[in-house]
Amino acid sequence: MAEILQYVHKDGFFHRLHPFSKILFIIVASIICILVTSIPVLLLMVVAMLVLAFIGHLHREVIQQLKLVLVMSVVFVVITVLTMPGGDTIGYLIPQSVPVIGGAIPITTGAISVGLVLALRFMVLIFAFQLFLISTQPRDLVHAMEKLRMPIDYILMFIIALRFIPTLQIEGQRIHEAQLARGYNPGTGMIGKVKSVAPIVIPLVSNALLRSNVLGLTIDMRGYRTGVRTRIRERTFSGGDYAMISGLCGTAALFGIVAFALPALVF
């Protein structure tokens, strides 16, 4: 089972970067992709993320999530087609030949364009966060967040939320198997699907609550919340960091210049 957003132990370009450099990478990528509305520029950013993943030897992990990202992208496009008609009509979701409701949902160029922008932004954000999370040990993340003066309780909450994604995945799989062995039928139709959720979700939540109690006690009994930490094996800035920061500053500056001088290119 592929583990979502979990640290992968490797020695690559991204792994050697200081968490601060990676946080800056996320900030720059997020701001640019949110401001940009040009589909070619967003496509270029998606390609850049994949190239960076390849350089950091993380392409396998990023590609593993591609299916989920593509499904979500299609959902974005469909939702915008349904909710934001605009521009020229190029067809209808329900053919006009269908009596009464035919031609009710037009597919417009404006909706497709907005949907694609949203989908590409989503891809850039997901890939950027994934590169950050799978290349950063939670310990380094704790150190970086401590330096940013975030309260330790919030840091631990963030780390644990990430850490327990695969645990819940595995637990959900086991519960699903246990119920299938009892002739459980995952249901059809909307109501059937909702009803059939209970045999999976109730044990999953009950077990997770029990587990969270043990987890909370473990955190306290290891003194994470109040102890004074000895600084050991902390990341220091290296050549890769300076290269990354220079690249990010350059990209941000270039974006600023293009945005002012040739706004039609990016907006």
Partner: protein, 477 residues
């Protein structure tokens, strides 16, 4: 040193005392093994001994607990108590906070006010002591149960405390993994550590334990050296599971002769890992078969093929002459009932009755009320029919899981480690129930780490190793 003086405790919203006037002294350098039925208060005793009960839980409390002479109530909180005591809970998965083994231990060491050199030295020594050096870069999700338990223990040892409390550290582990934990604990004892261990595996811990404490209904019902405690026959049955005579019941009469399960050249791979390698096997109707082997030997992968949860990479599995490749899981569920190791993975209903009714409704079985009563009666849980399943003790939940499957009236009943976490009496009750089901004509297959269960209860013992059947023998009296 820990001292509990006349400690009583009642959990919030309950009336029965979980601990009742309990007094116990754990002297420095000594090892106490606490055992007893599920629901006897063993985990509550652990929580009381390390002060968690007094600082984190509501409910009614009485009595005094002192750690090294200091009243636990005088500590400012758990973080201060953690300077004197380390505790390892029974769920190792819930104690893994970070993403590699080394990170888990290092993070615990960082908060002890040690110099970086001392931290590196201690890290190396703990990895060595817990046999984790070769696994230090692995993610907790890719570790076996025994390895996870060792990581949880290692992170606790990183705190450097002289007193360590362990709640069922080996409950889900096989023989090899259990021996490793015992050997680590024996080394800790040699180093002068004080140990309080809740355990059911007396055979593994008898050398290590200076004192055995047997708990029942929140009280200590026996305390002393192993020899002293075992003089009482009733106590002995709780401490040491006795499966004598279970196999000696009348010979079962299968409704029809012939094979229930036929496995031919079965191979199965998880991604690139070969979990089953050319396994062939025939289980006849009415047989009681035990499948034994270490963790990762392919036992669970094999039985998941019987009800279609997994389908062969190559080879065939036939259940009552039907090839599993041509059947859905729901169809196979009518013929093969599978009870997983952890019963809590299946319970979601509000009452014991509804929990059993779920499987019957899925299969459309007629006259469910009669069937539910019969199944609950079979496992001795008729009186709990209207209770919430998760309120039952571990042994009762295990029997309820069996009832849920029995009610579906499958020809074959498969159980994965049905005695995990049970005391001697409960384990015997579960195995006797299975024997009764065999006598009613069911084919029973039990996966177990426990050789004694296999030898005392089953008619046939199949041993697996690295995805292959390495021996298949008839049990002898």
């Amino acid at each position: 040193m820990i001292e509990l003086a006349d400690v009583s405790y009642t959990y919030p919203r309950t009336v029965q005392e979980a601990l009742s006037h309990l007094s116990l002294e754990l002297a420095p350098g000594r090892c106490i093994m606490v055992t007893g039925p599920s629901g006897a208060g063993k985990t509550t005793l652990c929580l009381a001994a390390c002060g968690i009960l007094f600082h984190e839980y509501g409910g009614k409390k009485a009595g005094i607990v002192t750690i090294n002479g200091r009243d636990v109530s005088a500590y400012t909180g758990l973080s201060e108590i953690a300077k004197d005591i380390g505790i390892v809970f029974d769920d190792p998965e819930a104690q893994m906070i970070f993403t590699t083994v080394e990170e888990e231990i290092l993070s615990a060491l960082e908060y002890r006010g040690l110099s970086p050199e001392e931290i590196e030295k201690r890290l190396a020594s703990i990895l060595d002591l817990t046999y984790l050096s070769a696994l230090k870069d692995r993610s907790p999700h890719h570790l076996s149960g025994g390895q996870k338990q060792r990581v949880a223990l290692a992170a606790t040892l990183a705190l450097g405390n002289d007193i360590v409390i362990l709640d069922e550290p080996t409950s889900e582990l096989d023989e090899h993994a259990t021996r490793r934990i015992v050997s680590i604990l024996a080394n800790l004892k040699k180093q002068g550590k004080t140990l309080l261990i809740v355990e059911h595996k007396y055979a593994h811990f008898r050398e290590l334990a200076d004192t055995i404490v047997v708990m029942e209904h929140g009280r200590i019902s026996a305390i002393g050296t192993p020899e002293e405690v075992l003089r009482d026959e009733r106590i002995q049955r709780i401490v040491i599971p006795d499966f004598t005579g279970i196999r000696d019941g009348p010979a079962p009469v299968p409704k029809e002769a012939g094979p229930a399960i036929t496995v031919t050249n079965l191979s199965y791979s998880y991604e690139e890992v070969c979990a089953l390698n050319s396994v062939s096997l025939t289980v006849n109707r009415g047989e009681f078969v035990a499948i034994v082997g270490e963790n990762g030997s392919g036992k669970t992968t094999l039985v998941k093929q019987f009800n279609g949860l997994l389908t062969p990479t190559s080879g065939d599995v036939e259940i009552l002459a039907k090839n599993t490749k041509n059947c859905t899981i729901a169809q196979l569920a009518k013929d093969v009932g599978l009870v997983f190791q952890n019963p809590d993975h299946m319970f979601f209903a509000d009452t014991v009755h509804d929990e059993v009714a779920f499987g019957l409704a899925n299969l459309g079985i007629a006259d469910p009320e009669k069937v539910i009563d019969a199944a609950l009666g079979e496992v001795g849980l008729l009186a709990t029919k209207n209770l919430y399943p998760r309120w039952l003790s571990r042994g009762e939940r295990q029997r309820l899981a069996i009832a849920c499957v029995v009610a579906m009236q499958p020809e074959v009943i498969v159980l994965d480690e049905p005695t995990t976490g049970l005391d001697g009496d409960e384990a015997r009750l579960v195995m006797a129930t299975l024997k009764k089901l065999q006598q009613q004509g069911h084919t029973v297959i039990v996966i177990t780490h426990n050789r004694e269960i296999a030898e005392r209860c089953a008619d046939r013992i199949i041993a697996m190793d690295q995805g292959r059947i390495v021996s298949d023998v008839r049990a002898v009296n």
